[in-house]
Every structure is written in structure tokens, then in C-alpha cells.
């Protein structure tokens, strides 16, 4: 089965009744940087990005976060047992691939790692005797190798075995630069995840979020596991509302560097940014349309916070809401047809929706007197939002077909939910024991992971799209 969207070469290996797939990873333009997440590597900041950001002060080194820590709170959860054998030749590479794959799958809460047999020396060419692995009660076994290529890149190869049915579940070759070794591991974790659950994995996606440390605000782009964080923008004035463009090429955000909120769009690979909205008053809440050419935003140029559609190339704007109230926080569905937003036209903020071209809104939230920050799942089934309940701000999940709402968290200061691109997880900002943290949760609320800010406060997450 070819990897979706990527060119593949299928080869047959004589003597083995399986099919090998060769795959070329597209060049990752944003991976010019050195990984700064690993504890064993010195922290450094990529020179190219430093040069581009020019006058911005870099007195503080960007800090490496701990990874998201999993907190599996579900009782009686079924977890698929898996094993990852050490990768042959990994001692010659700067990243421990088996460890990254293992951490990804365990962090999903849906997998449980079974330690490999001591002394296991397998790679993707091995045809292992699966009987001893069955005895260890593991369902799948991942084997692989990593070798240095003549051009300085690394050839990462793996094969996945169905231990129970003694089946070869496929193999791949991923030639990558050193800086992309973590990404190769995440791709392997995605492969295992998809083979076993049927859902696309999000281990190789990225997150954007904001931290505040003293007077410094940073907008970060990091891997979905919290590692490899790189500062996209730094300021001594606040940064809020980062929003990934549909293909992940750009990040829009609101900056207060001009002493008022202004919307920028920044090309992630180059850090070049352009002004999207600096109209009279405040400009905020950017939300991309699926075509990547237009953006919804909240502007106040006509008096009051209203929702507009802005052409990012020309800057021309069209007003979509027509009320004397606050209309803000627009977000559009994957088809680009329906805009969900917050309005207090009824007296208190509630979530509404309207056709994307503008038109009569209908109210969506009815429970509670304060509902804000709508986020739509990419598959169109769910609406996450924040509800004020007795003074606490709590993440809610509504099934759109039925209108059923469930509370997902035990915390009381939840903010800015965002869905993973496979619609299976929600990331949000909250406070845990008084400290700001980012958390992810499954839609049933049973599996949560937490990323605490290593230094200072952490907030405003946005989950990036699948990278083709």
C-alpha cells in the first residue's frame, strides 16, 4: 500500500514473501536547525534563523522543554502491547530511533511497550522466529537499522511484524538528513499506529504555542512530542492566537509590538512575515480559510469587534457579521462552508455558526451562560469550546450531530482548544497546580498528557496540519 501522497517504489525481495516499499521523504525546508530537544546535545540556536530575525534580542537561549508526560487516567483501557527492537547501527547516529518510536506510541496511551528479549540483534532484513515474542505477549515487533550514506545522510529502514499472525506488515526505507532523524522515527511511529488502529498518526505533526518568560514572549514551533522547539518570533510585547495555515507553510499570529494588536502571517521555513491586518483599533483572532488565501479575523475599524474576511495578498476586507455586539473567534470547517464564532448578541458570549459567505447566524451552545473559543475537528464531527461553569473555565466537547456535550477536564482555567489533524486529540492551555501548562486529551477524556513550561508560562497552542 503506497504511503499516501508520496512517490513509492515497490520491490520484491527474492526468498521472502513480502513486499518492500521504498520511500523518499520530501525535503523538509524548516529542518535547517539543529535539534535542541535532546539532553545530550548542547543547546544552540540556528544561525540562519538568528540572522533573519536581525534586531530581535536573543539574550536568552530558547529553552528545551521536557516531553509531554502521559497521564493515563482511564480505567480498564485496552492497550496494544508492542515491542521495538534496538535499531542495528544506531550507535552511529545522533538519535535513538527505537526510543523515540517507543515514547511516541506509549504517549498515545493506546500502546504498552514490552521490553525486547535481551540480546536481540535484529534489523529489517531479519526474518525472526516469532514464537519467543508471542510468549512475551507482544502483538507487534518493529525492527530496523540506520546506516550513514555517502552523502552524509542516514538511511533509516524498518520492518513491522504481526507477532500473533506471523505476518509481515511492511517495510520502508527513509533516507534523511541528521536533522530529520527524529522525524523519521515519528514517521515510523505513525506507520505502526495506523497499521494497528486504522487511524492516521499525528506523531510527525507540529505544534505552535507561546511562552512568556519575564518580559520576553516567544512563539514556538515544536514537534508534537514537545521536542525540537524553535522560536519563530520573539518580542517584548505579547503574542497571542497563533494559527497554522492549511498546509502548514505559514503561521498567522497577533502581535502587540506596535502597542496595539496587529495580525501578521509568517512563512515558517524562512521566518519572513507580512502584515495582514493593521486597521484602526484592534486586529485579532486570525483563522485561515481552507484555500490558504483568505483569512477570517476580528477587526474593530467600523467600531466594535466584528468578523471580516481578509484577502491575504491584497489586504481587502469584507465584513461578515452585522451586529452591534461582540462577534469574534471565527473558525471555519474543513470544507470552508460554515463559520463558527463567538457572539454576545444574546447578552452573554455563546457559540454561533453562519454560512461562510455571511448570513443569518444560528446559535450552537445553549448550556451555560458563557461559552467561548470554538474549535472544530477536521472530520466535522466535534466542536470543542470553553465554558465558564461556576467561575471555572472548563473545556467541553459537543458532538455536533446530536448536540450532546461532555466535560473533558478536571482543571479550572482551560483555554484555546485545538484539534489534532486526525480529529482524535484536543490540545489546550490550562493551569496545573498554579502553573500554566499545555495538555492533550483524547475525546473521551481518559488519556491526557501534559507539557509544563520549562521556564515561565506556556499558552496559546495550535496544532499543525498533516505534513504531506
Amino acid at each position: 500500500m503506497p504511503w499516501r501522497g508520496l512517490p513509492t517504489t515497490v520491490l520484491r525481495t527474492p526468498g521472502v514473501n513480502s513486499v518492500r516499499y521504498y520511500l523518499r521523504l520530501p525535503r523538509m525546508l524548516f529542518r535547517a536547525a539543529i535539534s535542541i530537544g535532546s539532553k545530550s546535545l548542547p543547546m544552540s540556536f540556528p544561525l540562519s534563523r538568528r540572522a533573519m530575525l536581525g534586531a530581535a534580542a536573543f539574550s536568552a537561549l530558547p529553552f528545551a522543554h521536557a516531553q509531554f508526560r502521559v497521564d493515563v487516567s482511564g480505567v480498564g483501557l485496552t492497550q496494544l502491547p508492542f515491542s521495538v527492537a534496538p535499531f542495528k547501527g544506531n550507535e552511529g547516529a545522533p538519535q535513538d530511533l527505537a526510543a523515540i518510536v517507543r515514547a511516541d506510541l506509549e504517549r498515545s496511551g493506546q500502546f504498552r511497550h514490552v521490553t525486547p528479549i535481551v540480546g536481540t540483534l535484529l534489523d529489517e532484513t531479519s526474518v525472526p522466529d516469532l514464537a519467543p515474542w508471542r510468549e512475551r505477549v507482544t502483538d507487534v515487533l518493529l525492527t530496523g537499522s540506520v546506516a550513514r550514506l555517502a552523502d552524509g545522510r542516514y538511511d533509516v529502514r524498518f520492518r513491522l511484524w504481526d507477532v500473533v499472525r506471523a505476518k509481515d506488515l511492511g517495510a520502508m526505507s527513509l533516507p534523511v538528513a541528521a536533522a530529520d532523524l527524529r522525524l523519521a522515527a515519528h514517521r515510523m511511529a505513525d506507520y505502526v499506529y495506523e497499521k494497528l488502529t486504522g487511524d492516521k498518526g499525528v506523531f510527525s505533526t507540529r505544534l505552535a504555542y507561546v511562552t512568556k518568560s519575564g518580559v520576553n514572549y516567544n512563539l514556538w514551533v515544536a514537534d508534537a512530542d514537545g521536542e525540537n522547539a524553535q522560536a519563530a518570533f520573539t518580542s517584548t510585547e505579547p503574542i497571542i492566537s497563533p494559527a497554522w495555515s492549511p498546509t502548514g507553510s505559514h503561521l498567522a499570529y497577533v502581535s502587540f509590538e506596535s502597542r496595539k494588536p496587529v495580525i501578521y502571517s509568517q512563512e515558517v521555513a524562512t521566518s519572513r512575515r507580512r502584515l495582514v491586518a493593521n486597521f484602526k483599533g484592534s486586529n485579532s483572532a486570525p483563522a485561515w480559510m481552507p484555500d490558504g488565501k483568505r483569512m477570517l479575523a476580528t477587526l474593530t475599524l467600523d467600531g466594535g469587534s466584528q468578523i471580516y474576511s481578509i484577502d491575504t495578498a491584497s489586504g481587502s476586507h469584507t465584513r461578515l457579521t452585522q451586529s452591534g455586539s461582540i462577534d469574534t473567534e471565527p473558525t471555519v470547517d474543513s470544507a470552508g462552508k460554515t463559520v463558527y464564532f463567538v457572539s454576545d448578541r444574546g447578552g452573554a458570549p455563546q457559540v454561533y455558526r453562519m454560512p461562510a459567505s455571511g448570513g443569518a447566524p444560528e446559535r450552537v451552545t445553549f448550556a451555560g451562560g458563557y461559552n467561548i473559543s470554538p474549535a472544530l475537528s477536521p472530520d466535522g464531527r466535534w466542536l470543542a469550546y470553553v465554558s465558564r461553569v461556576g467561575g471555572a473555565f472548563k473545556l467541553q466537547l459537543m458532538e455536533l450531530a446530536s448536540g450532546t456535550v461532555t466535560a473533558l477536564t478536571d482543571t479550572a482555567a482551560d483555554e484555546s482548544p485545538s484539534f489534532s489533524p486526525n480529529s482524535k486529540l484536543v490540545i489546550y492551555a490550562t493551569r496545573v497546580q498554579g502553573r500554566e501548562a499545555l495538555m492533550t486529551t483524547t475525546l473521551d477524556g481518559r488519556i491526557k498528557t501534559r507539557l509544563a513550561g520549562a521556564r515561565g508560562d506556556i499558552r496559546e497552542p495550535d496544532w499543525g496540519p498533516f505534513v504531506p
Binding site: 505579547p238 497571542i240 492566537s241 494588536p261 485579532s284 466594535g304 469574534t328 467561548i372 496559546e460
Partner: protein, 193 residues
């Protein structure tokens, strides 16, 4: 100082005297004993009303020296600032953008200052306390700033001299989650560039 010809000097002297008389009348009516030309235009240290005082002494300080524009400004091209004793911050109740009546005299002082020179420009920065979402609070802060803008408009200040912006909950004046701290963050700051 403008240099007038002899004939004009007589006329302007008369105007100066008339103005001083008017000022003296105003000052005595307000009961202030702050001499205008002793209050530096941009110094906020002396009898400056800080945020807490503005709230606590709602009526007391508002009447002093706010009604007149300093005539002691040597450089007539400077746009200046309102006198230091005029409060720069308006406070609001939770979830509200209603300008409380106790701030009427403060706004009148700012209106006077702005109307005296059409080149003067005020930025109205709306803020909220820390509770609630960032974007909704940005909109709420905007409502507060616009409420102040409307009040200044009613007092005769032109649209062109004002811009209402919001910082939402991003720039608290006071850290703390107790009610007293939260109250100090629900505000509009009037700033001049």
C-alpha cells in the same frame, strides 16, 4: 515666547490679563492651591494621582487643576500632556464596559486638553482582568476603550484625535487574583504620544 510688534503687544497683554483672571476664578472655584506654572507638564511625581488614589478619592482630586491647560508651556510646538494631577486610568466593573459617573470629571479634563489642540491624539487602551479567554477579553477591553471614546466624543473631542485599542488580559497593571487586584486591571488607560 512670541515676539509681537508694539501695537500687538498691548492687545496680547490685555488677553493675558483676562486669561489670568479667568484662570484665577476657576482655580479658586475648585479650591486648588496648586499654582499652574509650578506644575511641570510631563512630571507625574509631585501631586500625581496614582491609580489607587484615583479610585479612592473619586471626587476629591478630580476638581483640581484639571480644568485649564497650562499656559506656562514655553515651547508652543510641543503637544504636551494633560496636567499630572489628571488621572490617566478609568476603572470598570466585572464583565462591564459602563463608564462609572465618578470618572466624569477625569474625562472632562482630557476632553479639554484634546480640544485645545487638534493635533493632540489620545490612545485609549482597554484592558480586562485575567479571567476568561484571551480573544473574548480582547473584545471586552475594546468595548471599554470605545465606551470611553464615545464619552469623549460627547464632550466634543473629534474621532480623528482618538484611537481605541485593546490589550485584553495581556497587560495587567497589578498581579494577583484577589478581587482588589482584579479590579485594578479592569481599566482603560488614556495615553498620549
Amino acid at each position: 515666547m512670541k515676539h509681537h510688534s508694539f501695537g500687538q503687544q498691548a492687545a496680547s497683554s490685555f488677553k493675558s490679563v483676562a486669561l489670568s483672571v479667568a484662570l484665577a476664578a476657576l482655580l479658586s472655584a475648585c479650591g486648588s492651591n496648586v499654582k499652574l506654572d509650578e506644575v511641570p507638564v510631563s512630571d507625574r511625581s509631585g501631586v500625581a494621582v496614582n491609580a489607587a488614589d484615583a479610585n479612592a478619592n473619586a471626587g476629591a482630586n478630580q476638581g483640581s487643576s484639571g480644568r485649564s491647560v497650562p499656559t506656562a508651556v514655553a515651547d508652543e510646538t510641543a503637544l504636551g500632556q494633560p496636567p499630572a494631577s489628571v488621572a490617566r486610568v478609568i476603572y470598570f466593573d466585572y464583565d462591564s464596559y459602563l463608564v462609572r459617573p465618578e470618572f466624569a470629571t477625569t474625562l472632562e479634563a482630557h476632553a479639554q486638553f484634546l480640544k485645545a489642540d487638534a493635533k493632540r491624539r489620545v490612545i485609549l487602551q482597554g484592558h480586562t482582568d485575567e479571567r476568561g479567554g484571551r480573544e473574548y477579553n480582547l473584545a471586552l477591553g475594546q468595548k471599554r476603550a470605545e465606551a470611553v471614546r464615545r464619552q469623549l466624543g460627547i464632550l466634543g473631542v473629534s474621532e480623528a484625535q482618538q484611537e481605541a485599542v485593546s490589550f485584553g488580559k495581556e497587560k495587567p497593571a497589578v498581579l494577583g487574583s484577589d478581587e482588589a487586584s482584579l479590579a485594578k486591571n479592569r481599566r482603560v488607560e488614556l495615553t498620549y504620544r
